[in-house]
Symmetry: D2
């Protein structure tokens, strides 16, 4: 059993609380910190917390607290982490880890120096679909990974601080891109180094300083490529789709808008207000169990199981730091219009991984380009002569 | 926290165990009963049970046990329930409750006489999608319910006892129809009386005595109609789809084969063996978190929360009994080729509910048949004169 | 090239005209008959017809006319057909052929006696999806057919005469069921005799005398079963789905509401009025090329190609007659609540086809019930002893 | 009626022939040219051509020929076009127009100097789905266009010449990217200038000199962005998906792999060989009417209707030239790793279109960032002060 201090009583803090204390859980939020007293009190009542406070340190230091869960705006993560280091409390924090890699690196070094358990709450690599897809990919079901894409777009966040570049540290790249980067990096291999990033970003719709739409490409040392598509200007709900392509297959995941649940309502029967949906009449696509589908349940389980076994979780501050380094390169690229290198002072994966060969032998003299069954049922191969480079077709049988 | 005795260590017992002890649960299986010693021992090791036995009564009577969970073939349910009554243990049992309504009624009367908590483990009315759909339907989002359909078909069960009519008590109607009947009954309203059943059943493919394919219609007192489609001869995986039609909308749910997770594999990369899938190459449609998608997690949570609050769960032995009564009528109808009445000695819902009127007033002289927007943008109504019955069109504006 | 007289200038007549003269067609509508002069004139202008008339016989008898296309309310089919017989003109008629089998039989006998080309315009067995599915089924891709289902539901027809039982001859069973019956009959085999029908029908929503919702089952001599689901009370658009199950596979077709075209609109950009859709904001599901998707193009091509080759088309008045006979049985069953025999005075298919055996030999002593790969990768068979009927499992390898 | 000379009797020539002479068409292929005599003869027999030849000029110059249709490898387009100019024959050519913009420009200038009808056979802007989507977009149904993406990937082309960089002129960018560029350009507006391109390309799998996988971004003068994803390494069939995002909505199109036709087959019933599919067992996703779904029918109809009306078709050599210019920039960018300008010597669209403002007034003092309905039903706005730039929330009512 884990006793938790929750820092932050807003949208994400409440989401976490639903997951942490949902169903038949043995874990418990014992202390809630909020900057606003009424919000702290309300949260304490709603989730049965024995202690509430408007002092962050008080919550962290509370003797009943085993683990601190940070659910605060991005600009407050570092201060909260430092308090956990001071009081030697296990810490888990919402995404992104920092507003940039420098912040993230300081947090990473601090928790490691303090020797405390640290978890990076990247829920989207814990969704049931991701976990199953990842298992298949790991077993080689789709072969060598060539490309992985993650898309997260919606009509913009709910809370005002997201729109303020000082508090948030950035726009939709930071807010949503952090998910996409870790999802695609996981498929390609977390031990494979991201080397450079090209990013387009623009403010197309919203009257803000930060970007509201961006597309990026991340090259990895082994020749794989990752792609992210993020936006706060998408109309139609929460679009959360991932794709992976390998030499032997492909995986498509639609995590939110098309999950096998479809509903039409004229709206005359009742005022049905669907969460995150943009309309409440016509065809709607609800999600059955949002908490589970978004990975919160599996994430907290893995975090606390790891903590109890004395081992690091799948996602640590180190991963958060790598993600921030990729994000930094993306922001730089959006300005310079160049492919920008990913600056990783700390790198714990493999070094010098070469690009995979694209030559498949057919026979001693030829490479195989393609093998297919023609529409008249014959097997055909397209070959390339190793010496002459000449390309020929050959029908077998 | 609940301490559970599991009766049965087969496919469904293990599924239940995964759910009961999954994630960060506070509940625990303390005793396992199996007819075969090696199976009991293996289960005890796999799920960390402190006690195993080949005596059903020993498991039920074990002093550490609070709740007995029956995961046995259909012909053993009654004996197990009677032991729970004898030892005054809370009991929850897998579906169907009995092989027929007579058995179910005896069990219902026994648990009520014994005054013990009784839960009917109909997981498919606890799936996240069903719960959300049910909430919408309850709030009136699709209006008055006209029709509800549930389909469960697959290539046949895994264990041999299902195919033996004596142990199972029936074929796919009993095995799968029990789900469909409770799902559709829930949408129509559990207080509305099912009045008669028409059922077609046949043994089309399998060399067995029981039916391997059936389609049934169930009429309810308020004029709503329910439909079930069940089969052990479907090829393509587990087809689990529900639909509901109301006067103001419709809901479509695909619980297993199309949930937003699609994968193609040539099979050259690795031998991927997908559960319940019929192939391991080509396009595959895995389910992220089967346990959650099939309702086990939400079902056990509701059962134990109810137990702890001292109130009956959503699904009790009474519901299991009503389902068995509908199943009995279906079996009879399949033989007599007639609409057979549902024989309910015990009925706790509403009585004498009339059929809803199908007359909507348009004005004092007319009923409204239809209102639509024409392709040239005008509003058109089709009306029926109350006196003359003449049908006319009228373009408004 | 064919020169056509169109009888009827309403919704369906215009649909036919779009298809007949669409794209780069060599065929031409030369005469249009309508009961209302202004409607005939307008049609003539819109489709460039050289001749218009309010006399049905004048259109039929017109010397330039090769083929008469009947697009009239059901109660006028017979009179129109008789005129074609009188003037020896090839005739093609919209569905259903008659209001009942007696009418259909008279028309069938008349055209055959007159020796004229006769085509039954059942477009839904000419949709591109149906044609491809049918080809696969014919080649055995899904094995022996066990069950075929067709569903057509929508919020009710556009024209007033459909709602008047005298003109229409019935409700949604006649209007929509005729499609479903021919689709499923085609999959099962048009030479296999439909033997009996069970039908539930009700008027649940509309203030009309005819049924607005019905479900039916049709048994075929070879043990296959067909199912139809029809309604004028469905909310959400035009739901047109077919399914077929065979011993070796299954086919699912969604012909209208989910065809790979999805659109979300807030409605602020423009007033988009989608055809047949029930809303013009939110998620919409348009169909790319309705004319082609609904089979009109392929239907007229096959009709006229057959006519030019001097052979009967795939769908003749005989097929229309068989469909009417099944419909009659459905209407009777809805009243008697009994399985009603299909009365076919004229039957040109196979006679006395027995039910297919459901016994598959495994070895001399056993039947095979099921073969599967277990989750631990082994092959398992479930067998039934031919003498003792005992059911056992056997793990191979 | 048009009389056509077909140049090329390969895969695409035959596809065109099926469309040109399909259904009840009045058009006719009268002459077929192929480099190989046997191939020309076979084509002539299959499609009933009165004339065949191995001399390209003979086919073009044939007195019965009205229109020349070029279906040759990319390196032969220019020579064929010049013959059409010489003999003053209307010409339509397969995609891409040239191997590069220089070739394309020469062809464009030649046909215009010769004053002949010229059509660019970009079938994918003629698919029924595209046509309908384009109509909605044109009417403003999804607002101002922000982003358009087109994806075309498959396991590689059928004919050997595609794999030879000399004949083809490039790899998958040229082969598939030309489609994507014209699709996205059409959504954004063909009068809006494409200004620069960033492209990643690699040879990840095939032993060839050309790229087998590429991703590109194209910036337009008005601030809209287009994206293309192309590959010859995708496993799973032909993946043809387009998406468009506007300020008021979004459109998703799946043109091939998910069109509402789903089939499962064990493969035991029959050897079903699906076209372009990668497997013939398991779940398959056939397309009903490939010819129509891929736009061939609507394309030829529009081409010939325009020709007969004496007006240019929607897609002319000018469009082919613009596409080639964008492709050139993509190839250059893939090498230089820079955003490369699109070099358009000839530009007939609008000039100097500024970027659309992203500022929406809420009141005199504030811009509107977002308006939403909270989960408790209130309307909330997020605003930005025009002077202070401060971001605030305000709950209305």
């Amino acid at each position: 059993m884990q006793r938790i201090a929750m820092l932050g009583s807003g949208f994400i803090g409440r989401f976490y609380a639903e997951s942490l204390q949902g169903q038949r859980s043995k874990d418990k939020i014992v202390s809630i910190y909020s900057r606003r007293e009424d919000s702290a009190k309300k949260f304490a009542v709603d989730y049965g917390c024995e202690h509430w406070t408007t002092s962050m340190e008080e919550a962290v230091a509370h003797p009943n607290v085993d683990v601190v869960c940070i659910a605060l705006p991005n600009n407050l993560h570092e201060a909260a982490v430092m308090l956990c280091c001071k009081h030697k409390k296990a810490v888990i924090t919402t995404k992104p880890l920092g507003r940039n890699a420098a912040e993230a690196k300081r947090m990473l070094e601090a928790v490691e120096k303090a020797g405390i358990f640290n978890g990076y709450l990247e829920d989207l690599v814990y969704t049931p679909k991701f976990l199953k897809a990842f298992e298949s990919v790991s077993k080689g079901a789709i072969g060598r990974i060539l490309w992985a894409k993650s898309r997260e777009t919606h009509p913009g966040p709910h809370s005002d601080w997201f729109w303020d570049i000082e508090q948030a540290g950035g726009g939709c790249i930071l807010d949503l891109g952090c998910h996409c980067i870790e999802i695609t990096r996981s498929f390609i291999g977390k031990d494979i180094k991201p080397v450079e990033v090209m990013c387009w970003a623009d403010t197309q719709v919203k009257p803000i300083d930060a970007e509201d739409h961006a597309i990026g490409l991340v090259k990895y040392e082994n020749g794989s490529i990752a792609q992210f598509e993020v936006s706060w200007t998408f109309r139609g709900g929460l679009d959360l789709r991932d794709e992976v392509m390998g030499t032997e297959g492909t995986i498509w995941m639609n995590n939110f808008l098309r999950t096998g649940f479809e509903m039409f309502t004229t709206g005359k029967g009742a005022d049905y207000v669907a969460e995150k949906a943009e309309s409440n009449t016509g065809w709607l696509f609800p999600v059955g169990d949002e908490m589970n589908e978004l990975g919160y349940n599996h994430m907290f389980a893995e975090m606390f199981n790891s903590l109890e076994k004395g081992k690091p979780p799948k996602e640590t501050f180190y991963d958060g730091y790598v993600v921030n380094a990729v994000l930094d390169a993306a922001y730089k690229s959006a300005k310079t219009k160049l492919w920008e290198p990913v600056m990783l002072d700390i790198w714990r994966g493999r070094e010098g991984v070469g690009k995979h060969s694209h030559l498949t032998d057919y026979d001693p003299d030829h490479y195989l380009i393609k093998e297919e069954v023609t529409h008249y049922g014959a097997r055909k191969v397209i070959l390339k002569n190793k010496t002459t480079n000449k390309i020929t077709e050959k029908v077998l049988e």
